[in-house]
């Protein structure tokens, strides 16, 4: 006999275990990346020195090098540098204290925005990326679910084959090429033909511009931002669109074979009601997991999309930090992504048990 509330205990235990596990995974993965960047010969110091050399015409004196090394904890052995970066420990007398990543101190940026706390640097493009991720997820869902359901209900029909071919196209499409082609058609050609075109590049315009048949678009207005969001959204969502419609179709086909669907039909329920209420609601359960688990992928995929459209998001910042060897910023980006990945895994598992009572955590 299960006493009431017992499942809650199981759930709590499960969550605690998962959180501890996730924490260990984060420590391990950040350690690996930290070590990689720390041990890289020709890594941070060369870059800093080179930068200082470019910045001033005076030769660098050895004291400066020592001071710089100290400032960035580069004179410490690897494990100490890591623990100071991650936890702010050990506290050393000869240098300022660090709070560590665990308390929200991601260090100072080296070059992208010199000597500014990395966290601030990271927060600036965050809204743009969040907006892009949200619109892409929504677009993918709005297209994928109806298409998948229709294809499943009309299995082996012409539309079904068309959908299958379309998903193949979507999965095989290199997003960077798709983005370029969108620019070619909707920005370049449309502008030449005098049609209302979509402005390529950037999240916000620098100055007002005129779009045929629409009129003047004020730079920085919601309309401007919206226009500039359309192509990146399509580009970023295409892969998910294809994958999710394929998944919805498969899941729906599975559910349509179930006994309770047959029962519902036998009762004489209207077919549309059977599909919308009995089948779809059950078919969408596994999709929740898929969508949650895809979020880190969207965040990472935004690197490419934001690069194509020069859309000022976190992915573009990451590329900047790599080009300029700003390891603290690159590390911070990776930490956000790692936390997102690990978090999405937990959320997906928990939500799954909430919406489907047949599944229980142990």
């Amino acid at each position: 006999m299960r006493r009431p509330g017992q499942y809650l205990d199981i759930m709590t235990n499960y969550l605690i275990r998962r959180l501890v596990e996730s924490f260990l995974v984060l420590v391990l993965s950040s350690g690996v990346v930290f070590a990689l960047l720390y041990l890289a010969p020709g890594g941070p110091m060369t870059e800093i020195l080179e930068f200082r050399r470019q910045a001033s015409r005076y030769p660098i004196n050895p004291d400066d090098i020592e001071r710089l090394k100290k400032q960035f904890d580069l004179d410490l052995p690897l494990w100490q540098a890591y623990t100071r970066w991650a936890f702010g420990l050990p506290v050393l007398a000869d240098r300022p204290n660090r709070a560590g990543v665990i308390r929200g101190d991601l260090g100072l940026s080296w070059r992208v925005s010199q000597n500014e706390p990395t966290l601030n640097v990271l927060m600036r493009p965050l809204p743009n990326t969040l907006v892009l991720m949200t619109t892409s997820t929504l677009l993918a869902l709005i297209v994928a679910v109806p298409v998948g359901v229709y294809a499943a209900v009309h299995q082996y029909s012409r539309t079904d084959y068309l959908v299958t071919a379309g998903t193949f196209l979507g999965v095989s499409m290199p997003v960077f090429w798709l983005g370029s082609m969108l620019i070619l058609i909707f920005s370049f050609q449309f502008k030449q033909w005098g049609l209302p075109y979509l402005p390529p590049g950037s999240a916000v315009a620098a100055r007002d511009y005129v779009v045929p048949l629409v009129g003047t678009v004020e730079a920085g207005s919601w309309f401007d931002r919206g226009l500039r969001l359309i192509m990146p959204t399509i580009t970023l969502s295409l892969l998910q669109m294809a994958a999710w419609s394929r998944f919805t179709r498969a899941s729906m086909l599975e559910v349509l074979r179930q006994d309770y669907v047959r029962t519902a039909r036998a009762k004489g329920l209207h077919e549309q009601l059977v599909i919308a209420k009995h089948a779809l609601r059950n078919a969408l359960i596994p999709l929740i997991t898929i969508v949650t688990l895809a979020l880190p992928g969207l965040y990472g995929g935004a690197i490419i999309t934001e690069t194509i459209f020069n859309y000022q998001g976190m992915g573009l910042l990451f590329i900047d930090s790599l080009t300029q060897s700003d390891w603290p910023v690159a590390l911070a980006y990776l930490m956000v992504l790692s936390v997102l990945t690990v978090g999405a895994n937990i959320v997906a598992d928990v939500v799954y048990t909430l919406v489907d009572p047949r599944i229980r955590v142990t």
């Binding site: 890289a40 010969p41 193949f168 290199p174």
Partner: protein, 323 residues
Amino acid sequence: MAVAEIAVGEALARPREVGQLELIWGRFSRHKLAVLGVWVLAALFVASFAGPLFSPYDPEAQFIGPIFGELTAANPLGTDDVGRDVMTRLMYAGRISLLMALIVTLASSVIGVVVGAASGYFGGWVDTLSMRLVDFMLTLPILPLLLIMSAMSIRGGLPIAFPETLTRLFGWIWDMPPERAEGVLILAVILIIFQWQTLARLVRGQVLTLRSTAYSEAAQALGASSLHIIARHMIPNTLAPIIVATTFNFGGVIITEAALSFVGFGVQAPSASWGSMLNGVRDFIMLQPWRAFVPGLTIFLASMSINFIGDALRDALDPRLKL
């Protein structure tokens, strides 16, 4: 009469044997798009590896034509921002893109099969250790990590020493000095590091189920060595999913390499892969976006063909395997 009867009788007694390969080909060729994919892929390979032999230009020779030259008979795809022949570069880029993807796919398949088979067959700490490693690596954000490692290797941060014959060989194939071929090979190694995990998991699962089959137990009872059982009984029986997964991986690697090169952390100039050629036109995309069409099209055609082939192979090799 008698003669005819005997002939008929023989024909009945020995029906035409249908070989395994013939059966597979029969099922495969029912996928018209997959057959088309084979042709397209073959065409891309031939154009990349044999095409340069017929090109009068050096892929890195500048000012062969005007800067951003139009499409002419001498330069069928025009010339680029420093007047190099785009067609010639595209073919050489194909050598890099296709050959590198092939190396990465095959090497990661070998690693995946060995790790997966050992893990599934021996169990115990081998299994725990390798599967924990796989789990861990699968939680890592792959694209950013690839970018970081690639950025490091470009700055000389990943010293991997290849045998000189190897770098010379690839330098010869790719028509570049051995030092640059080494850079491309390092990129390949980076890609391999993140490519073998799913296959290891797949093979492990298959081997786990095969281990308890009667024929594997029989082989064990007859005193066959572990290596013999794995190599002769396990792997041949998991070959179908391995081939299918490898095919899909091949397409994935082409796209990944192109993506890395597109953001500037893959194959470095003046060498070119299809992805880095797209990167090369990125700065001018607002002026002449049509220049992005061709290098991207080759990537798209390659990856699409491979996906169709993989899909057909899945149906042809193992009818039980269904998505």
